[in-house]
Amino acid sequence: MIVLANILIVLTIVVGVFFTIVTVIGVIRLPDVYTRAHAASKSATLGVLSILLGVFFHFWLKEGHFSIQLLLAIAFLFITSPIGGHLMSRAAYISGVKPTKLTVGDDLAEVIKQAKLKNPPTHQKEDDSLNE
């Protein structure tokens, strides 16, 4: 039983560390913001999640302490991290960061251009009024 518990704990933590390392390599190697967001929002989620799961198993199976906080942390991570990845890449796109040369097609460019024509960015106007 102890051996099984140890295997479970070590396995989850090793998987978590592996995916976290992959995230780091991905953020360094991938060419632009959007592809980096792929690595950061997916692998980091699973990485931190399995490390937390390993810690949860450790405290539960070896110390006999059932920690609800760790499970809650896993749930919160699940809800927030895809939204974080989405918002950062969306902000990058709208503020005009170009995707990498490798990109094949882009359906969003036209839409953003139309939206900017309709209501131009506000800080531009403030700058103009300051100059006058």
Partner: protein, 159 residues
């Protein structure tokens, strides 16, 4: 659905008062009896039985975990490949989900699926703009995955 669940809790509570033992096991027995009663009187409720909806939610959660693991394996493959041979693309995906929470759920699921991230939701909430990391082997496969996600979400939200 919320009404049926609440009714089930109420029946369990009544069962606890009737047997004057206020323990968890009495509550569970009362809950099961209430579930039986609700199944027997299901033609009086306007919607589906809440049990099916719980089951659909459970299936959706399983799908979520499966996709998370698959997407991580695909990211590992892309990142650790010696040559960077990816073909990113931004494409539009029409959706016919209506409620805000459905669209939020769908975009969270898409963001955690293999090789896709939601970049923008159009103002009329009819189109999602998605950044795919490797279009060559993904474009068609993704569409089918999206159909399965959308179907699973519709299964949950069906009245």
């Amino acid at each position: 659905m919320a009404f049926q669940l609440l009714l089930n809790f109420f029946i369990a509570l009544v069962w606890m008062f009737m047997s004057t033992s206020f323990t968890a096991s009495t509550f569970i027995i009362g809950f099961l009896i209430g579930m039986l009663l609700i199944i027997m009187t299901r033609r009086f409720f306007p919607g589906r039985l809440y049990i099916w909806r719980l089951w659909a939610t459970f299936k959706l959660a399983l799908l979520f975990f499966k996709e998370l693991i698959l997407s991580n394996i695909s990211v590992v493959k892309v990142v650790l490949r010696p040559k960077m041979t990816i073909q990113p693309m931004i494409f539009a995906l029409p959706t016919d989900l209506e409620h805000d929470w459905e669209i939020t759920l769908l975009s969270s699921l898409i963001t955690l699926t293999p090789g896709t991230i939601v970049l923008n939701v159009s103002d009329d909430q009819r189109t999602l703009y998605i950044h795919a990391i490797d279009v060559d082997d993904v474009d068609d496969a993704i569409d089918s995955i999206k159909n399965s996600f959308e179907k699973a979400i519709k299964e949950v939200s069906r009245p």
